[in-house]
Amino acid sequence: MTLLEVRGVSKRFGGVRAVRGVSFAVPKGAIKGVIGPNGAGKTTLFDVVSGFRAPDEGEVLLRGAPVQGLPPHAVAALGMSRTFQNIKLFGHMTALENVMVGRHVRSRAGFLGGMLQLPGARREEREIARAALDAMDFLGVRDLADAPAGRLAYGQQRAVELARALAADPEILLLDEPAAGLNMRETADLAKLVVRIRDRGVTVLLVEHDMSLVMGVCDEVVVLCFGEKIADAPPREVQRDPDVVRVYLGE
């Protein structure tokens, strides 16, 4: 069953056609990768899928329903969660508070509930904290709960950001270059983690520069080049694809 489908998406910036008529599908429960050299349009495509940019043409379907053009918070409410290439934590808040914000879409207390400490809001608050701590447990960063997020080491920040995205119990998780800035060993750990996330029932779409991560964990890989899709197949086939080899290794 297809969970997410990108259909004929194009995006222009002035005269630059960053993404040109790209289509692909992400089956439920899969780990799908999007790779391509710098400037291939990966990040733009990612922003279109997550609601940060509206496409000029084409559709993005989540469970068959169009979501292109919806604002990011509305897309998030439909079960899509994401991380950022250059980690975006709320630096002045604790790690736990960061992860608790991830629970925003699964909770509803408003101004009145919060100001008056209504019973419903207090109950929900405990549930939010529990879910956030569970997510931190899963990533092995529970002991960092009270640390200010801005003072964490780089790898810890990545983990907290992932916990925040997972706290939303998303149906699909979008990872924007999760291996950026990691060494080989950390990248190997990340690969295992991505598989564990999928095993929890979360479909994963990851955009990546690092071939080893993508080839190691993805069920299917989309290859972009100058905004166009040049391959969409399991890793082994992609590695043998002459077009892909040409793009990556030169002729």
């Binding site: 997550s50 940060f52 604002p71 990011p72 918070h73 998030a76 409410a77 969660s81 994401r82 950022f84 975006k88 934590l89 709320f90 630096g91 002045h92 808040m93 604790t94 508070e97 608790m100 914000v101 991830g102 925003h104 879409v105 909770s107 207390a109 408003g110 101004f111 509930g113 919060g114 100001m115 008056l116 400490q117 809001a121 929900e124 608050e125 939010i128 925040r164 995205a165 939303a168």
Partner: protein, 357 residues
Amino acid sequence: MRGRPSLQVVAFAVAVAGVHLAAQAAGRGFFLTQLTMSAWYTLVVLGLSLLMGYAGQISLGQAGFFAIGGYASAALTTLDLAPHRGHALVAALARARLLVPRADLFGGEALSVAPWAAFAVAVALGAAVAVAIGIPVLRLKGHYLAMATLAFGTIVSSVVVGSQGLGAADGISGVPPFELVPGLRVGGGGGDRVRNYYLAWGVVALALWLLLNLIRSRVGRALGAIHGAEDAARAMGVDVARLKLRTFVLAAVMATVAGSLLTHYNGGIGPSEASVLKSVRYVAIVAVGGMGSLWGTLAASSVLNFLSLRGTFGTWDDAVFGAILVGVMLFAPEGILQANLRALLRPLGIGRGEEGA
């Protein structure tokens, strides 16, 4: 374990009582009048502190909302509908006690809107204007937002000065006291001084408790998230525009309430309350207290407003607040009271728990 808002507010109540007793013991009971006025202004800056420090939005138009509250209450409670007594609508409103008789300046009987009804209209008007202004204006950021809210403040100010119906340069006087419950009225009568002092600071304590709760709640975290990394907040499902608007309206309503009640306390309101210089003063006080510190704002507001109302700054009053704002921005953008006050209050459990948001 973070500081609990309820305990912090209890500590605050003790301080309020302490100041009263100290003023009394020093034979300076009349200070309570300026302290009461200072409390109502503090309500304005607490709302602004939430807006600036937690939601990261500036408003140079808070005096406009204060004036809307003050002038709505003043105009409605001093108008005279007695000549229209025969009109069916007026008669119906009078029967519903929305209109009440009162003695006019010449001893005759006038028929005016009841203070609580005027208060309800004032607050509804303030909230409606905040929504109408907020929706377009909050799309702007930084300097542009500051300029747009400044323009709003300027408009309110010119409307007030230019309207004969609102007393133009003289303002409106003869505003009756506002009886909240029998025996407790917002008004300047000498016998009510102590009660008004506790009433005003009680309202401030209530507002403080509500805001401290808010910043520790789901909404408070979302506000902190917007402030910290707006993109990430949006990706986590935070509806940024809606949250900013609601915070803006909350701050505006607090200013409106303060405007209405201080006008009843003073028995009138003049156009200086609507001036842009007042808005600048509110921003300066929040800046001194430290962005994102309700306690710092509270302390800065109590002291600076009290000194200003006692006439300490003389004719330099507005200049002092302008200079304070420039000084804070240049030398201590985090707020003068921020670091020191926190260090001072930490042993008491005050000031914790709000650092995060």
